[in-house]
């Protein structure tokens, strides 16, 4: 009877140690992981594909942050969570987006007309009409002169240049 009580006490103690040590690390890591994951969701505008794993209080982060500042800020947030021993930050920063090209500058008819007059002046036989920022060329021109005329007209910032010239 006494022997079996001792055996029972020993088994109980062993189980208690296992359970206690499990309580100490297992659920705690899981809780931390949950907390960090929640914070990642809250920061969804800063990070894509963010995830966190926790082992023995060490948080490993991954994901792509929009910039260095948000990456650093999130690491600081995680380090401040009670129970976090350290952070292995494997997350990266997205490359900067390509700059949006500036819109094409297109001159209005009034700005285009004097430039067109200047450009065709030396090419008798060439007529030009400007409407809705489109230059339309009619009349005739020598092939040797065509490129020269086009080179001047293309500097005027027209929307487009319709070449309906008869080439001699």
């Amino acid at each position: 009877m006494r022997k079996s009580f001792l055996r029972f006490a020993f088994v109980f103690a062993a189980v208690a140690i296992v359970v206690l040590s499990a309580c100490k690390s297992g659920p705690k890591d899981a809780d931390l992981e949950k907390t960090v994951t929640e914070k990642l969701s809250a920061a969804s505008t800063d990070v894509t594909g963010g995830s966190a794993t926790v082992k023995d209080g060490v948080v490993t982060l991954s994901g792509v942050f929009k910039d260095d500042a948000s990456k650093a800020a999130f690491e600081t947030t995680v380090k401040a969570i009670p129970g976090v021993k350290s952070v292995v930050n494997n997350s990266t920063v997205a490359p900067p987006a390509a700059p949006v090209p500036a819109p094409v500058v297109i001159n209005g008819d009034d700005a285009l007309k004097p430039g067109v007059t200047d450009a065709i002046k030396d090419f008798p036989g060439v007529k030009a009409e400007v409407k809705d920022s489109i230059i339309t060329l009619t009349g005739d021109i020598k092939r040797a002169s065509l490129q020269k005329l086009m080179m001047s007209l293309h500097t005027l910032k027209a929307k487009k240049i319709e070449n309906k010239l008869t080439i001699k």
Binding site: H154, L156, K157, I161
Partner: protein
Amino acid sequence: MALQDKYKELLDAASTSGVSNLQVREQDNVLYIDGDAPTGEVKDQLWAIYNKIDPDFRAADVVMNVNVAAGAAGTKATVTTDSSNLNVRKGPGTDQPIVGKAAHGSTVTLISKANDQWWLIKTEKGEEGYAYAQYLTPQ
């Protein structure tokens, strides 16, 4: 992007030949190519490629505003008219009175760039006024 494929050879040449501030944009089925060519030869070369892809410039799907950078004030330029003398005018426009002539093949000094069409210059004889940039080739 279709136009960028059609004019790929032209765009490749522009980016490899040292055109600075190069901007290539496609808008309403027109390809706008802007930039500063380092030399007149580069500009001519680009126009030759353009003419090859779109013979006689009939397609009306490109506006290529690539100009030779005028360089700093004091740069010399050659008058590259066909044969006649170049009018030097009081202001930037053919409606402006003629104040002098720069001889064909002569050298002028660039003072400033009024715009892409008109440059303020000084002739060998010391006459100052505006000349049509198309007929000036920076040296």
